[in-house]
Amino acid sequence: MKVSVRLFAFARELAGCETLELQLPEAATVRDVRRALVDACPALERLAGRLLIAIDAEYAGDDQTVPAGAELACIPPVSGG
């Protein structure tokens, strides 16, 4: 299945774009998303260990399955306030 991942802040800058389109196997997990992200955009490697992944605007654990049609986002460490 195809998913698109929104990128923010330094992750967006490293990738040079606001969304990345990824090709994932059916029943892919967040762990698969992380791998696919770095494959699609090696510049994200340096952030990889610190990125959180959100599915439909909610933080997701590595074992969580990605539903078809979900909105994914790649969340570097936050610094609001």
Partner: protein, 149 residues
């Protein structure tokens, strides 16, 4: 009530909004753009958010605070976009019957906002350099110095 906004935050209106006859205490917190941090001079900040998720997490934090303290009313607004020195980036107003609860709830909310709300700050230094702030990444790793002088 929670909000992400690109406009100047009107803290007086926010504070007024949480006042009531049931309240004995109102605590309002403002985060403002500080000129000096760790010896470096900031010229301005740019905030970026994942807006749908940010408002969702802010609502979650308000709910958490209401579960922990008898909050009467609560208003949380975070500004995004370009902010000059001294401007208000975040404002949180909380009312409770008693002051201890109002202080604790307000502090809890700003602490949690800084932990879990997907908002990011880019520091534009007086030197011309500019860094995304990503706590835990370390200054140099996170640095993206576009205007290094």
């Amino acid at each position: 009530m929670v909000e992400i906004t690109e406009s100047v935050i009107d803290h007086a209106t926010l504070t007024e909004r949480v006042r009531s006859d049931a309240a004995g205490a109102v605590v309002t917190f403002l985060g403002t753009v500080r000129q000096f941090s760790g010896g470096r001079e900031t010229a301005s900040l740019d905030y970026e958010s994942y807006p749908e998720m940010a408002e969702r997490k802010m609502r979650e934090i308000e709910d958490e605070a209401r579960q922990r303290w008898p909050v009467l009313a609560c208003a949380v607004v975070h500004r995004v976009g370009h902010l000059e020195l001294g401007e208000v980036s975040v404002a949180i107003a909380v009312s409770c019957a008693h002051r201890g609860d109002a202080f604790d709830a307000c502090r809890y909310i700003i602490d949690r906002v800084k932990e879990i709300v997907p908002i990011w700050k880019r520091e534009n230094y007086a030197s011309g350099e500019s860094d995304w702030v990503h706590p835990g990444l370390g200054g140099d790793q996170a640095a993206s110095r576009e205007n290094a002088s």
